[in-house]
């Protein structure tokens, strides 16, 4: 059982997404948090906890809380890490609520990932320490390079094709057409995909997410209390964070299996649901490949069949498993994971407009599947009806 349905998401908020916000990550965090509180029908005076994750690129809770004028902080989380811990932040907020340590947690991620701190290290580089010391001297340190290595391994073992990766990019762009927030809404074709330039072969430009300035926040409170607030509650039915291998270092060795394969059984057990119950999946898509491998590792198709499954159209709106209905990081924008959670909430509230999955009751939302830090995190969310 664990945390099943004990906490809920009561509000979501966004800043606009752009290539240059012109403001600090503190301002982005404040704007997203205030929007999320407003959505929940709450105010700053109701907040008693804050949670975020960062990699030296954002503003921590102990700066945001006094800036907002939070009366008293009962708990906060300043989690080190990138996309792989994005959903762990919300899972830990649910734990804090379930434990009675906190009552109203605002979870946020605020980044100027294009104008200030680019993940590719452009302009800043990555310190060649820990296991990076064995890779950085070869110019191997940027996320597209790392994921290209994993993608190639999958191609070698299972015959995964460029067109199968391309199907993911094309599908998500089509989904973004229905999302006014998306940075890229013009459709792309398979020809466009195949003509896009190599970044790190086998990944092309259109395999890569959009470096984005922006913030997103969600309000976590108890399920019971959420039912009395302004927005329909979305229950946190499963919340898991774990794993073990650091595939980056080569320990564990098999790049074709992500840490999602390891946490999926615990996640489904906690939620009392299985892959067949998931109506919509927002799968971490720093690159097309991470979607493909998660389709396998969360059990939507057999191992090795992620490519054919994606190419079959199954993940389109109207298909059996719509994936990344907002366009994902590839087309909506990259806020490092939390915007997947926010989209899942919209789907479960039934407020996703042109991209609504009809009757969606169960959503899976996932973090970077454990290829860089040793682990991943994910949530199963459920409509409260």
């Amino acid at each position: 059982m664990g945390l099943r349905d004990r906490a809920a998401i009561a509000g979501v908020g966004y800043t606009p997404f752009s290539k240059d916000s012109g403001v600090s990550t503190l301002t982005l965090a404040i704007d997203a948090i205030l929007a999320a509180l407003d959505d929940a029908g709450l105010g700053v005076d109701d907040v008693d906890a804050l949670a975020t994750h960062r990699v030296g690129d954002s503003t921590p809770p102990w700066v945001v809380a006094p800036a907002l004028g939070v009366p008293e902080v009962h708990w906060y989380l300043d989690q080190f890490g990138g996309g792989s811990v994005s959903h762990a932040v919300i899972g830990q907020a649910a734990m804090a609520v379930a434990a009675g340590v906190a009552r109203t947690v605002v979870c946020y991620r605020a980044i100027n990932a294009r104008s200030e701190f680019r993940m590719g290290g452009t302009g800043r580089g990555v310190a060649p320490v820990f296991d990076a010391q064995y890779q950085a001297p070869y110019g191997h340190f940027a996320p597209p390079q790392q994921f290209a290595m994993f993608t190639r391994a999958h191609m070698i073992k299972y015959g995964t094709t460029h067109e199968q990766l391309g199907a993911i990019a094309v599908t998500q762009r089509a989904h973004a057409a229905g999302n006014p927030r998306a940075l890229k809404r013009d459709p792309i074709t398979m020809e466009d995909y195949l003509a896009s330039r190599w970044i790190a072969e086998p990944l092309r430009l259109l395999d890569c997410c959009l470096e984005t300035d922006g913030a997103c926040a969600v309000v976590v409170t108890s399920a019971e209390r959420a039912r009395d607030l302004a927005a329909p509650p979305v229950l946190i039915s499963g919340a898991v964070w774990g794993g073990g291998d650091s595939l980056l270092s080569g320990q564990g060795g098999d790049f074709t299996v992500s840490e999602a394969a390891r946490i999926a059984p615990r996640l489904y057990a906690m939620a009392g649901a299985g892959p067949e119950d998931v109506d919509v999946a927002e799968l971490y898509d720093c690159f097309t490949y991470s979607v493909l491998v998660q389709l396998e590792d969360y059990g939507f198709c057999a191992k090795g069949e992620g490519g054919p499954y994606a190419a079959s159209g199954a993940t389109r709106l109207g298909g059996p498993l719509p994936v990344n209905t907002h366009g994902g990081f590839l087309s909506e924008g990259y806020v490092h994971g939390i915007n997947h959670v926010a989209e899942a909430v919209a789907q479960l509230r039934g407020t996703a407009g042109d991209r609504q999955v009809r009757g969606a009751e169960v959503a899976l939302s996932t973090a970077q599947p454990g290829y860089v830090l040793a682990g991943t995190s994910a949530l199963i969310l459920r409509a409260d009806r």
């Binding site: 590719g120 060649p128 110019g139 290595m149 070698i156 790190a200 072969e201």
Partner: protein
């Protein structure tokens, strides 16, 4: 071609002996003193039997290409003259779960194939740094 502008590794207290060996053109891994498991990167304990006993063991410097990337985008100026260049993930011949990274030398990136046999070569970058690179064999 000078490799001097590349990011320099910052050896730590676990890895310093490995980098010093590379400086001498020796390729080492750790061998557990109890269960015999070979391991890399360097660690103080064996992840299999938790023994703290280990010795540095030379490997032949041969392996096969497990995966690879051909870089086109220039992420660091130091590599501007090298693109397109290949970085290999090499499975060492000594064990199935023993891998090292390194760039390809002595061949065209387009000629890399899965399982391609490669051999470690040592490039002295300057007085303080030697890098392991991989050449087809």
């Amino acid at each position: 071609m000078s490799l001097g502008g590349r990011p320099r590794p910052q050896p730590d207290r676990d890895s310093a002996p490995w980098w010093e060996a590379v400086r001498r053109h020796e390729l080492l891994v750790q061998e557990c003193g109890d269960c015999g498991t070979l391991r890399f990167p360097p660690r103080a304990i064996c992840g299999r039997c938790r023994s703290r006993r280990s010795a540095w063991a030379p490997v032949r410097g041969t392996g096969r290409v497990a995966s690879w990337v051909v870089n086109h985008q220039v992420f660091l100026r130091a590599f501007a003259d090298e693109v397109p260049y290949a970085v290999l993930h090499v499975r060492l011949d000594e064990a199935d779960d023993l891998f090292m990274y390194g760039d390809l030398t002595g061949a065209d990136p387009a000629d890399v194939t899965p399982g391609m046999p490669v051999r470690a070569v040592f490039t002295d970058v300057d007085d303080d740094l030697t890098l392991v690179r991989w050449r087809p064999r």
